[in-house]
Symmetry: C2
Subunit: 370 residues, 2 copies
C-alpha cells in the first residue's frame, strides 16, 4: 500500500477511499476507535485508513483485527486533545496531537474525510484554522441526521454545536448549507427548510429569528428550496420538513434531549418486557421485531456530525462512541467521500452563499480529483 | 352548592377544592376540556369547578356527564383567546374572554388554581397583569415535570416558555423557584439543581450561563439545595439532577423535542409489533406490560406547566390536549391547591428571592385559608 502519496489517497485512480482517523480523545479510548474501523470494513471493501496517534499502542490494537491488515497507514502523534482542553490552547499548542495530525491528512489531500471522537470545540477550532472556511461562510456549522417520518428516514438539523451563537445572516447560511447537504447527501431535489422556534406563528420567538425567517424566505426561490417557516421541537422527527435550522446552542440541547429521551424510552421498554412471565414470553416471540426497533432508535446508528462550510469534510463522532458508534461515523465519512460530496458542496455552498443559488448537479463527478 | 362565595371557594372550611377552568381556546374545543373535568372527578371527590366560557354551549356539554352534576358553577364569557392572538392585544381587549374570566376567579380568591389550554403567551401576559409578580421576581417562569430515572419518576424543568429571554439573575430566580416547587410539589428535601448547557465543562456555553452558574453556586448553601453545575440535554431524564434551569426558548424546544421523540419511538414500537405474525402474537402476550409502558411514556400524563412567580397558581395545559391531557392538568392543579402549595410558595419564593433562603416547612398548612 502506498496511500501516503496524495494523488493515490483520495478516491481516485487507485479506486480506494481514504479516511483519516483521529484514534485518540474519545471517552472509550483508541480500542473503541480501532474496533469501529474493523467493523466498518465489511460494508466498504475499498476503504483505507490513515490512523493518527501513539504508534506502538495503535499498532498493537490494529494487529488484533485481521480485517484491518493492509488497510492502515500509521502516523505517530504523541499528544492527545482531552475533553477539558480549551480550543484556544489546542490551536496554539496542539501541533503534536493526533487531532491536528488527522486534519493535516485532509489538508494535504491525502484523505477525503477526517473522523474524530475528540473534543468538539477543539476539533472545530482546529478545522477552521487548518482547513479554513469556504468563501462567503462566516460561521461553519455541524449538521446531524435526525430519525424522522420522512420516506428517507432522516431529517438534517444544523447547527448542533459548532457555535453557541448565530445571527440572522448565519442562520441563512446554515439554511443554504443544509439545503446543499440534503440535496447531495440525502438525494432530495427540493429540500424543505424550517427554522426552529417556540411556535409556528410568525410573531413568536426572538427578534433575530423573525429576521432570519424573512431572509430564508427571500432566498428560497433562487436557491430552489421550499420555505416551511417556523417549526417546533415536536417537528424535528416530522415529515413536513427536511432541513431544520437553528443556532448551535439550541441544536445541541435538542440533539442530546432527543438522544436521552430515546434511551429512556428504550430502557422503560426493556423493563416492561421483563416485568412478568407473559411479558417475557411475548418479548421472546417478538424478539426479531424488537431487535429491528432497537436498531432503528439506536442513537449510535446516526452517529456522526458533519462540519459544513470548510475546505474539507470532517465527521465528528460522539465523544462516548463505542465501536458501533465509531463504525457509523466512519460509514458516513465513507459515503460522503465516495460521493464526491465535498467537491460539489464546496462549489455550491460558495456559490449559494454569494448568490443565494444552488443549482442541481449538471454532471456526476465520479472518482476524479478536483 | 354555594362556591361562588370567595370564602367557600378555596380549599377551606367547606372542605372543597375549587379549580377555575378556562373552557375555551384549546385546539380540540370545550368538548375536550369538559371531558377532562369529568375524568378528573374520580380521583378528586372534593373537587369543584368554576367554568368560564359561553354559557349555553358549556351547560349542554356539562349535562352530558352525570359525574359533573352539582360540581360546576358557570361564568359566562363570550370572547375566546385564539392561538393567533397577540398577548398585547389580549391584555388590552381581552376582558370579555374566558381566559380573563378564569384568572379573575383566582384573583378574587374564589378558586385556588386556574387551568387553561389556551394561547400560552396570552395566558402568561394576562396572569402577570392580573395576578402580578411575587415580590422580588423579575420574570415568572413555566415549570414542567419531566419523566426521569429518579425514584419519584420526575424532574422539574423551568422555564419552558414563559419568556424567550433570561439573563443570569433571571436564571438564579428560576433556580430558587424550581427548588421551592420541587420541595413543596415533589416532596424533595434538598433538591439538586443543574443549569442546562451544551456541555458539563465549566468553560463551555454562553457568557451569561457562566455567570448564572456562579450565582446559583453561591446561593446553594443558604437556600439549602445542591448545586450540580452544568447539565446537558441528555441529563434531562437522568437521576443526577432534580431541577433543570434554562431560558424559556431552550426549555420550550427541549420539552417539545422530548415529547416528539417519545411519540416517534412509540409509533416505531407499534409498527414493529405489527410487522408479522410472531410479533403480533408476542405483543398480545405482553399487552399488559406494553399498556403500562404506553401510560409511562404518554406525554399527556405529565401535561400541565405551572406558572411560578405569581400571586396565584395557573396551570397551562397543552393546546392540543384531549380529555386525558386536560384531566392530567386538572389533577396537577388539584394536587397543588390541596397542598396549600401556593401559599407556602409565595412566602418562600419571596423570601428566597430576597435572601437566597428557602427554609423547609415548620408546620403543615392544612385546609386553612391564608
Amino acid at each position: 500500500m502506498n496511500d501516503s502519496r496524495p494523488e493515490a489517497a483520495k478516491q481516485g485512480s487507485s479506486g480506494c477511499v481514504v479516511i483519516s482517523i483521529d484514534a485518540m480523545g474519545g471517552d472509550l479510548g483508541p480500542e473503541a476507535v480501532i474496533g469501529g474501523m474493523a467493523r466498518s470494513v465489511s460494508d466498504a471493501p475499498d476503504i483505507r485508513f490513515i490512523v493518527h496517534g501513539p504508534q506502538d499502542t495503535l499498532q498493537g490494537l490494529i494487529d488484533r483485527y485481521p480485517e484491518l491488515s493492509g488497510r492502515c497507514t500509521l502516523r505517530h502523534a504523541d499528544g492527545v486533545v482531552t475533553m477539558d482542553d480549551k480550543p484556544s490552547q489546542v490551536v496554539r499548542n496542539g501541533k503534536n496531537t493526533s487531532m491536528w495530525s488527522a486534519l493535516e491528512s485532509v489538508r494535504a489531500g491525502e484523505a477525503g474525510v477526517a473522523v474524530s471522537c475528540g473534543n468538539t470545540g477543539a476539533l472545530m477550532a482546529l478545522s477552521v484554522i487548518r482547513l479554513r472556511r469556504l468563501p462567503g461562510i462566516n460561521r461553519p456549522a455541524i449538521a446531524c441526521l435526525w430519525p424522522s417520518r420522512n420516506p428517507g428516514g432522516f431529517n438534517v438539523m444544523l447547527d448542533v454545536g459548532a457555535d453557541v451563537k448565530a445571527d440572522a445572516e448565519d442562520l441563512l447560511q446554515y439554511a443554504l448549507m443544509g439545503v446543499s447537504y440534503a440535496r447531495n447527501g440525502l438525494g432530495l431535489k427540493r429540500p424543505r427548510v424550517g427554522l426552529l422556534n417556540v411556535g409556528t406563528e410568525e410573531h413568536k420567538g426572538r427578534a433575530e429569528l423573525k429576521l432570519a425567517n424573512e431572509l430564508i424566505a427571500a432566498a428560497a426561490p433562487d436557491a430552489d428550496f421550499e420555505h416551511v417557516g417556523f417549526v417546533e421541537g415536536s417537528d424535528l422527527p416530522s415529515d413536513r420538513v427536511d432541513v431544520i435550522v437553528t443556532d448551535g446552542f439550541t441544536g445541541n440541547v435538542a440533539l442530546k434531549t432527543g438522544e436521552g429521551t430515546a434511551r429512556l424510552v428504550g430502557d422503560f421498554l426493556r423493563e416492561a418486557l421483563n416485568s412478568g412471565l407473559m411479558a417475557r414470553l411475548g418479548a421472546l416471540l417478538a424478539m426479531r421485531a424488537l431487535k429491528a426497533l432497537g436498531a432503528r432508535i439506536d442513537p449510535r446508528r446516526v452517529n456522526g456530525g458533519v462540519f459544513l462550510g470548510l475546505n474539507g469534510t470532517v465527521v465528528k463522532s460522539h465523544g462516548a462512541s463505542d465501536a458501533t458508534g465509531v463504525a457509523a461515523a466512519i460509514g458516513l465519512a465513507y459515503k460522503l467521500a465516495r460521493s464526491g460530496y465535498q467537491e460539489r458542496l464546496a462549489a455550491r455552498v460558495a456559490h449559494a452563499a454569494q448568490a443565494g443559488q444552488d443549482a442541481p448537479a449538471d454532471r456526476e463527478q465520479d472518482g476524479q480529483n478536483p
